[in-house]
C-alpha cells in the first residue's frame, strides 16, 4: 500500500493540517510503511465478526435534566486567543 502525494495532500486537507513539502514527502513514506504493516489484517476472515467500538456493556447513558451551574463566561473565554463581548471572535466566513 503506497500512498501518492495527491493522497497525502488530500488527507492533510481533511485533517486541516498545513504541511511543508518535506513533511508531505516524509509522511508519504512513513504512512505507506505503516499501512503496509496494517495490511496483515486483510488476511483475517472477519465476515461474521461484529466490530467493537466500546468494550463496555453501556448504551445511551441518560441523566436527569436538572439545571446545574456551568463555568462562568469569563473562565470559558480566559484561554481564548481572541474574544469580544462575551464571545469568541473568528475570521469572517461570509462576504459583507
Amino acid at each position: 500500500m503506497s500512498l501518492t502525494l495527491a493522497q497525502v495532500e488530500h488527507i492533510a486537507e481533511l485533517a486541516r493540517l498545513a504541511l511543508t513539502d518535506a513533511e508531505k514527502a516524509l509522511y508519504r513514506e512513513q504512512l505507506s510503511a505503516i499501512l503496509e504493516y496494517a495490511a496483515i489484517l486483510q488476511r483475517v476472515d472477519t465476515s461474521m465478526i461484529p466490530p467493537t467500538a466500546t468494550v463496555l456493556p453501556l448504551r445511551n447513558i441518560m441523566r436527569e435534566d436538572i439545571v446545574q451551574p456551568s463555568l462562568p463566561i469569563e473562565d470559558v473565554l480566559a484561554n481564548a486567543p481572541d474574544a469580544a463581548d462575551g464571545c469568541f471572535r473568528v475570521t469572517a466566513i461570509l462576504e459583507g
Binding site: I11, R16, L17, T46, T52, V55, L56, R63, L71, N79
Partner: protein, 519 residues
C-alpha cells in the same frame, strides 16, 4: 530520607506525628531541586501551592488528633503527588506536552484530581509526557525529553515517562499517569516501579484531555503495590460527568492485599473478585496463565529469563501455572495503530485556534485552522492525525477502521477465553529494557513495537499492572506484567502483592540517589 518514603510509610509517620506534611513536602521539593535538572520529569512545578496544601493537611491532622478520630483519615492526607500533564488541574497550565497548549490554563479539575485533593493530597506539579500521550519515550514532548533515573542516556519510557521517572527518582511519592496502549505500564517497567492500568470505566476520564477515547484510562505509578491499591481506591468510581465510568462499588483494594498475606494460597483471591466462576466453599489457589505468544523472537533474553523466574516465584508461592494462548496477539499492533489514530484524529479536531491554545491567523477561517494545527502539533501527532483521518475517510473506512474494530473483537475474545481458564495472565511488560535516547526516534514503526505487549489489554479494556522483577546486565529494570479480567483489580493486586513480598526488586533505587550532591 523523607523523599524516599512510600505513600503508606509516609501516611503512618504522619498519623504518628513523627513528621509533618510540610516537612515531607519540603523534602520532596528539595529533592526535585537537586535532581530534576538531570531527570527533567516536571513540566510545571507548584511549590507554593503544594506547601499551602501541606499546611492545610497538617491542620487537618492536628484537628483529627485532638478529636481522636485518626482512623477516619484518608491515607493520602498530606502526601505529595505528581500529575501527568494531560490531566487537568484547575488554574494550572496543562500543556499535554504540546506547543498548541503551551499557555492553556485548565478551568476545572479532572475528577481524579478532585478526588485526590478531597483526600487531602498535595500536588507538586505536572509531569512530562509525549505530546498528547502519543509515544513510548517522552521524546515526542514538545518541551524536552525526560531521562531515565537508572541511566540518564536512556528514555524513561512513555508516554507517562515524566511521572515514572519522578517516582523512580523520589521526586514525588506517587503519580498519576494515563494508559492508552501501555503508557503507564511500559514506563513503570523501564523505570523499575509499579504501574497500574485500571479497567476501562474504573476511573473517570473527566478532565483527562482525550487521545483515544475507547482506550484511554487514568492509572497510577507508585513505589510499591500497596501504594497502587491506596491510590486506585481514592480515584476509582462512577462519575456522572463521564458516561463511560461504570456505576460499580469501589472495593477496599488494600483489603485484597491483606487477604493475600504474601502467600498465594486458596485465600489469596478475594471471593467477590471471581464470584462468577468460583464459590467460597470451593477455594483454590489462583491460576496464572502464561501466553506463549508473548515469548517471541526479538525479546531481550534477560527480559525473558527474569519474567520466567518471576512466574516460578508465583508457582513457588502456591499459584497454579498454565500455558495459555492469545492467538490474535500479533494483530494487536496494527489494530491499535488504526483505532487509536482514528479516535485521535476526531478528538484533536478541537484544536482550531479559536477557543483555546495556539492561534495562527490566516486570511480565511480554513487557512487559520491549517496554519494553527500545522505549527502547533509536533511530528508524531500530525502523523497519527493523518493516519486516523485516512482510516476514517470515504473509500477506506471499511478496509481499515471497520476491519480494525472487527479484529479488536477477536482480541477481546482471546482474553475472554483465556480468563475462563486462569485468573491472571503473566508476561513481560516490555520486550526490552530502557532504550537509548534517539535510538528509535527516526523510525515510527520500531517505536510502536515498544508497546507490543501492552496494547492488547487496552483493546480488550481490561486491567493490568507492571511490577519490578529484575535487572539486565546493564543494571536496567525489568517489569513483570500481570493482566486481569474486567474490574478484577483486587485479584491483580493480590497476586502482584504476593510477588512483591517474596522479592526485593522494588526496594532497589537508582544510583542517582547515592550520588546526588545534596545527600
Amino acid at each position: 530520607m523523607l523523599h524516599e518514603l512510600s505513600v503508606h510509610a509516609a501516611a503512618e509517620m504522619l498519623r504518628a506525628g513523627e513528621i509533618s506534611s510540610v516537612e515531607l513536602t519540603e523534602a520532596v521539593l528539595d529533592r526535585i531541586c537537586a535532581v530534576d535538572n538531570e531527570i527533567k520529569a516536571y513540566l510545571t512545578l507548584l511549590p507554593e501551592e503544594a506547601l499551602a496544601q501541606a499546611a492545610a493537611a497538617d491542620r487537618h491532622l492536628a484537628a483529627a488528633r485532638a478529636a481522636g478520630n485518626m482512623a477516619e483519615l484518608s491515607p493520602l492526607l498530606g502526601i505529595p503527588l505528581a500529575i501527568k500533564d494531560v490531566i487537568s488541574v484547575e488554574g494550572v497550565r496543562t500543556t499535554c506536552g504540546s506547543q498548541i497548549l503551551e499557555n492553556y490554563i485548565a478551568p476545572f479539575h479532572a475528577t481524579a484530581v478532585e478526588k485526590l485533593l478531597a483526600a487531602g493530597a498535595v500536588i507538586l506539579g505536572k509531569t512530562n509526557t509525549d505530546e498528547f500521550a502519543m509515544g513510548s519515550s517522552t521524546e515526542n514532548s514538545a518541551y524536552f525529553t525526560t531521562h531515565n533515573p537508572w541511566d540518564l542516556e536512556r528514555v524513561p519510557g512513555g508516554s507517562s515517562g515524566g511521572s515514572a521517572a519522578a517516582v523512580a527518582a523520589d521526586e514525588c511519592l506517587a503519580a498519576l499517569g494515563t494508559d492508552t496502549g501501555g503508557s503507564v505500564r511500559q514506563p513503570a517497567s523501564l523505570c523499575g516501579i509499579v504501574g497500574l492500568k485500571p479497567t476501562y470505566g474504573r476511573v473517570s476520564r473527566y478532565g483527562l484531555i482525550a487521545y483515544g477515547s475507547s482506550l484511554d484510562q487514568i492509572g497510577v505509578l507508585t513505589k510499591d503495590v500497596t501504594d497502587a491499591a491506596l491510590l486506585l481506591g481514592t480515584i476509582a468510581g462512577h462519575d456522572p460527568r463521564d458516561s463511560t465510568s461504570m456505576d460499580l462499588p469501589v472495593p477496599d483494594y488494600t483489603a485484597a492485599l491483606r487477604t493475600s498475606n504474601a502467600r498465594l494460597t486458596s485465600d489469596a483471591i478475594p471471593c467477590t473478585a471471581h464470584a462468577s466462576h468460583r464459590t467460597p466453599s470451593h477455594p483454590r489457589p489462583p491460576r496464572i496463565g502464561v501466553p506463549r505468544e508473548y515469548f517471541i523472537a526479538g525479546i531481550q533474553p534477560e527480559v525473558e529469563t527474569a519474567v520466567r523466574a518471576a512466574i516460578q516465584v508465583l508457582a513457588d508461592l502456591g499459584a497454579e501455572v498454565h500455558e495459555i494462548s492469545l492467538p490474535h496477539t500479533d494483530l494487536a499492533l496494527p489494530v491499535y495503530y488504526l483505532i487509536a489514530p482514528a479516535e485521535a484524529s476526531a478528538n484533536l479536531a478541537r484544536y482550531d485556534g479559536i477557543r483555546y491554545g495556539l492561534s495562527v491567523p490566516g486570511d480565511t477561517l480554513w487557512e487559520g485552522y491549517r496554519r494553527t494545527r500545522g505549527q502547533g502539533f509536533g511530528p508524531e501527532v500530525k502523523r497519527r492525525i493523518m493516519l486516523g483521518a485516512y482510516a476514517l475517510s470515504a473509500g477506506y473506512y471499511d478496509a481499515y477502521y471497520l476491519k480494525a474494530q472487527q479484529v479488536r473483537t477477536l482480541i477481546r475474545q482471546d482474553f475472554e477465553v483465556a480468563l475462563r481458564q486462569v485468573d491472571v495472565i503473566a508476561c513481560p511488560t516490555s520486550p526490552t529494557t530502557a532504550f537509548r535516547i534517539g535510538e528509535k526516534a527516526a523510525d515510527p514503526l520500531s517505536m510502536y513495537l515498544a508497546d507490543i505487549f501492552t496494547l492488547s489489554l487496552n483493546l480488550a479494556g481490561l486491567c493490568g499492572i507492571s511490577v519490578p522483577c529484575g535487572f539486565d546486565a546493564a543494571g536496567l529494570p525489568i517489569g513483570l506484567q500481570l493482566m486481569g479480567g474486567a474490574f478484577q483489580e483486587e485479584t491483580l493486586l493480590a497476586v502482584a502483592f504476593a510477588y512483591e513480598q517474596a522479592t526485593a526488586w522494588h526496594r532497589q533505587k537508582p544510583a542517582l540517589v547515592a550520588s546526588s550532591p545534596t545527600e
